[in-house]
């Protein structure tokens, strides 16, 4: 297809899809309406299970099987990225040069690093109570580690962030989630069943299985993000083609 034909096909397609969309949207319930049957049931179920953050209850209790699939996607994508970005036969490694960082930047980053780390851990731990949880907190933790790159340089980051350890942690988070799921089965209930004591509403230990699954996801997301970024940093900063093999 040349460009003109492609634009015509695309234009006709977009027009058709737009018509479809408009036709469907006109039949949607009003924006901001109050008819949410599944939502109402989910709220009731979450309160019944002593979980203050209903979204966490949906993600880690009511629809925890979705989250199982989701963390498998994360795990698989990390594995896939590691495989795709592996050092090819025709590449070699060049250690990056140490970088000079302005002292103010360094001081700012080094102060905010432990703070960010702490915030991330807090967000993971309070997932069943307040907005946040394993995903969000895990991502914050991963970001915190990369402040090292800003503060010092890539070599400092590499020393403090051994990728194999994080790859192992990634697998560990995955296994932990699955084992917590199997625990329900061994307790005589269903896979992923919330068989733990539910605790007092609105306290750190409430929600039964929810905080544990949250922690497993937190470990996995944090280490997955670290490994993912490590692959891209590796490509951008270290791997170069062997001489004479590329043009």
């Amino acid at each position: 297809m040349n460009k003109t034909v492609r634009l015509w096909v695309l234009g006709v397609g977009c027009a058709g899809v737009a018509l479809l969309f408009v036709g469907a949207f006109r039949r949607l319930p009003e924006f901001g309406g109050s008819h949410h049957p599944y939502g109402a049931r989910a709220v009731a179920a979450a309160l019944h299970r002593h979980t203050a953050n209903v979204v966490s209850s949906v993600n880690f209790d009511q629809r925890s099987f979705d989250t199982l699939g989701e963390q498998a996607i994360l795990f698989g994508a990390v594995l896939g990225t590691v495989v795709v970005l592996r050092q090819a036969r025709d590449e070699r490694r060049v250690p990056p040069e140490p970088a000079v960082v302005a002292p103010t930047v360094r001081r700012y980053a080094l102060v905010s690093l432990p703070l960010t780390l702490l915030v991330g851990l807090y967000v993971v731990a309070h997932g069943q109570l307040s907005p946040g949880g394993g995903f969000q907190g895990g991502l914050v933790v991963a970001t915190a580690l990369h402040l090292l790159y800003v503060a010092v340089d890539y070599r400092a980051l590499e020393r403090l962030r051994p990728v194999p350890v994080f790859a192992l942690a990634d697998a560990f988070g995955d296994v932990a989630y699955l084992l917590l799921g199997l625990a329900g089965l061994f307790a005589g209930a269903s896979f992923l069943a919330n068989v733990l004591p539910l605790g007092t509403f609105n306290t750190l230990a409430s929600g039964g299985l929810v905080p544990l699954l949250n922690a497993a996801i937190g470990i996995e997301v944090a280490s997955a993000a670290v490994v993912l970024l490590a692959q891209f940093l590796d490509q951008a900063l270290e791997l170069v083609p062997r001489e004479g093999e590329h043009r």
């Binding site: 953050n53 979204v55 060049v94 990056p96 991502l139 951008a236 170069v240 590329h246 043009r247």
Partner: protein, 92 residues
């Protein structure tokens, strides 16, 4: 009208999304994508979805643009190394 902030957030996110799609240079696009992430996070907060807003903030404004920028850096390094003046495959 109580929904006014939501509407403004929507328009902001749509504008940012359109801009991100139509920005052809990947480096500029990464920056606009990060603005889109921010706009979406704001919109999600207004839509009473703080959980989603938090993860969108982390993913949309930091992780995705960072990966895009790193990819651009990797991809752009190549032509410079190809030039005869610096054909040794060394760093930068």
């Amino acid at each position: 009208m109580t929904e006014l902030p939501v509407l403004l957030g929507l328009l902001l996110a749509t504008t940012a999304g359109t801009a991100a799609a139509l920005t052809r240079d990947p480096v500029h696009q990464a920056l606009v994508l990060s603005v889109l992430g921010l706009a979406l996070a704001l919109l999600f907060t207004l839509l009473q979805a703080p959980d989603v807003a938090l993860s969108q903030l982390a993913v949309g404004t930091v992780l995705t643009p960072l990966m895009v920028l790193l990819s651009v850096r990797k991809v752009r390094r190549r032509p410079r190394e190809d030039s005869p003046a610096d054909g040794r495959g060394g760093k930068r």
